[in-house]
């Protein structure tokens, strides 16, 4: 890989992407079109996130890559290796020690701090897409703040199910202006977007959009006054470390329906265990 530039992309491309990122930061929640490039991994595997990370990473960074909250899922491993080979930047599994975190489908349980950048991988950036397939029309709706149709959708959910049926990619209003799709994080993670001290960047490679939530920005999940937004709950703690109030993975342990619930965030769980926390299933 020595024939390639630092972080694979040429400087011209990185500059183009950084310009898009700056625009995105200037208009929180607004989807900025950018000239996404074909990358060595497939569309759908995080090319948008990789391009964003490649454009902001520097030799002084410490990189963490997770997928479904875990550092050792195959895709996280693959992306981490890619950056190891193309940048030589040190990597870590520790959320608190990372300066740059690329993630698919989760925000870490460990609260982020100022100076950190979280890059989220986005398959479908447009929050109105399932309600209006045409891009020309959705761009107009964003420009004119015509978001009534999204509330109609929520109304319908409540009519049909008694509650909003959206459990991930839950739509949010950013800075009281733009409707945004926060990537397929579970709604459980939505509150972490609100007034975060970190910079949140969102990259969609195939759809060619970048958007951002700058630090300390209001991010509100859509709801009705009499049906307020609420997150998932589990009636038991993590089996391994005993943590409560975190997102748990359901793991099937035998073919008789036996199941175990454990922290989705492997780093969070591992460190709790290292500090002596023990869950019902022991260490």
């Amino acid at each position: 890989m020595s024939a390639y530039n630092f972080a694979y992309l040429d400087e011209h491309t990185k500059r183009m992407i950084r310009r898009a990122i700056l625009k995105a930061v200037a208009v929180p929640g607004y989807q900025v079109p950018f000239g996404s490039r074909e990358m060595p991994l497939s569309y759908g595997w995080g090319t948008g996130g990789v391009q964003v990370t490649a454009s902001v990473i520097g030799p002084g960074d410490v990189l963490k890559v997770i997928d479904q909250g875990a550092d050792d899922t195959t895709n996280a491993v693959s992306i981490r290796k890619f950056f190891e080979r193309t940048t030589g930047v040190p990597t870590t599994t520790r959320t608190d020690l990372a300066t740059l975190i690329q993630s698919r489908h989760r925000i870490p349980e460990t609260p982020l701090h100022a100076g950190q950048i979280l890059v989220l991988q986005v398959p479908i950036p447009e929050p109105l897409r399932w309600l209006e397939p045409r891009e020309a029309e959705t761009r107009k709706m964003h420009a004119l703040e015509e978001y009534g149709v999204m509330h109609v959708r929520l109304y319908e959910d409540i009519t049909r199910h008694g509650r909003v049926a959206q459990t991930y990619e839950y739509p949010v209003l950013v800075n009281d202006r733009y409707l945004m799709r926060p990537s397929p994080i579970p709604k459980f993670d939505n509150p972490k977007l609100d007034m975060s001290p970190a910079l949140l960047l969102f990259g969609a490679g195939r759809e060619k959009r970048i958007y951002a939530v700058p630090p300390h920005t209001r991010v509100r999940s859509l709801d009705f006054e009499d049906h307020p937004f609420e997150v998932e709950h589990w009636d038991r703690p993590c089996a391994l470390c005993g943590a409560r109030g975190v997102f748990l993975d359901e793991i099937i342990v035998d073919d008789k329906g036996g199941r175990m619930f454990a922290c989705s965030d492997t780093d969070y769980c591992a460190r709790r265990q290292a500090e002596g926390a023990i869950g019902p299933n022991g260490a």
Partner: protein, 365 residues
């Protein structure tokens, strides 16, 4: 090294073994792919948006013959290449023609030149081809080179059929964009709507052949029918010319093989212009008529807006066609479903269990 890493390393090792296949069988040489599977190379080049026969052959070999995967490899490589300049538009009038046919006239200046084509072969498997003992110099049944009594070289350049119609004012003139208007570049800028014709044509040229073919077929069956005639299809070599800044004049940097198709379409009943034939255009690398023709059909269908026709079919829906034509994007997104989605699925499970519990507690009226 944790479990996930080991799994990937093993997977890559297995893949390398699969790719090589039985070590007792001779390994493919890139030249063999380029020469004897040339049409695959042509396809990978045009969909990969990169003209390099050797690289395309390498991609095909590395991808074990999976052409969509090969296109992906070529595109990814292309990303790393610097942009040195922009060539002059290819002048297909100055093509060294190997094949040229028209369905609109029985005969035409320069003649109908059949060239190498599958068209009149009988699709009978030729088991003689299975004899691996090489028989160089044998003319195979499958390629027929027929020349009209007058050698085509007497007409140079070979005139265009559509130009003959143009002289009578029967076909819409080609609206050349103003010189200072830059040509769009899909490989550099994202697609925006409404899309201009140059960008649409780029999208179709590098679009998946199966998709473009299916849509072209659909237009013929009534989905945005545009009453096409094959005005002219020509294949041959054209010069690629560049004007280096330091020289100020054009320099030929390569010759490449291309296939060009110009469809002549009937224009009916619009209040915007008097009756004239209209155009559809297709241009691809190498010998790829099917793609060039399909491209021309879909190009014409997508021109409905500028020709004052009401779009009624998916083939005329710009966003539908242009967003889904890219096999690399499509392949990626379809296959990404293999990636873990268990966190989101867990959220769904929580909800569905809750809803079912609530439904059980309160029976529906």
């Amino acid at each position: 090294m944790k479990g996930g890493e080991r799994a990937i390393e093993n997977a890559h090792r297995l893949l390398a073994e699969e790719r090589r296949g039985d070590p007792a069988v001779p390994e493919l040489a890139l030249a063999q792919i380029d020469q004897q599977l040339g049409l695959a190379v042509d396809r990978v080049m045009i969909e990969g948006s990169l003209h390099d026969r050797e690289l395309a052959a390498l991609a095909i070999k590395q991808a074990q013959g999976d052409l969509i995967e090969a296109v992906f490899l070529l595109r990814a490589y292309r990303t790393t290449l610097p942009r040195l300049g922009v060539s002059l538009p290819l002048d297909t009038m100055r093509m060294t023609v190997g094949r040229r046919i028209s369905a609109t006239f029985k005969d035409l200046p320069g003649g109908q030149i059949l060239g190498p084509t599958f068209d009149y072969t009988h699709r009978l498997l030729d088991f003689d081809l299975g004899d691996t003992a090489a028989r160089p110099g044998d003319a195979s049944e499958e390629a027929t080179v027929v020349e009209t009594p007058e050698p085509p070289a007497t007409l140079d350049p070979l005139p265009r059929v559509v130009d003959l119609l143009d002289r009578e004012g029967l076909i819409e003139p080609v609206a050349a964009p103003p010189d200072d208007e830059p040509v769009g570049d899909l490989t550099r800028e994202p697609l925006q709507f409404p899309a201009s014709r140059d960008v649409r044509l780029q999208n179709l040229a590098r679009g998946d052949e199966g998709f473009v073919l299916a849509l072209g077929y659909a237009t013929q069956r009534g989905y945005g029918r545009n009453h096409p005639f094959a005005g002219e299809i020509r294949q041959g070599e054209v010069a690629v010319e560049l004007v280096p800044e330091e020289l100020g004049f054009a320099v030929e940097i390569a010759t490449i093989a291309v296939t060009e198709c110009q469809m002549v379409n009937q224009f009916r009943g619009s209040a915007v212009a008097p009756p004239q034939f209209t155009r559809g255009y297709g241009l691809v690398f190498g010998n790829a008529e099917r793609k060039a023709m399909a491209m021309a059909l879909v190009d014409r269908a997508l021109r409905c807006r500028e020709l004052g026709e009401a779009p009624g079919s998916p083939t005329q829906d710009e966003e539908f066609v242009l967003y889904h034509s890219d096999s690399v994007e499509a392949s990626g997104f379809v296959q990404h479903l293999k990636l873990p989605h268990y966190v989101d699925f867990q959220s769904e499970l929580v909800l569905v269990r809750d809803l079912r519990a609530a439904a059980g507690a309160v029976p529906k009226p």
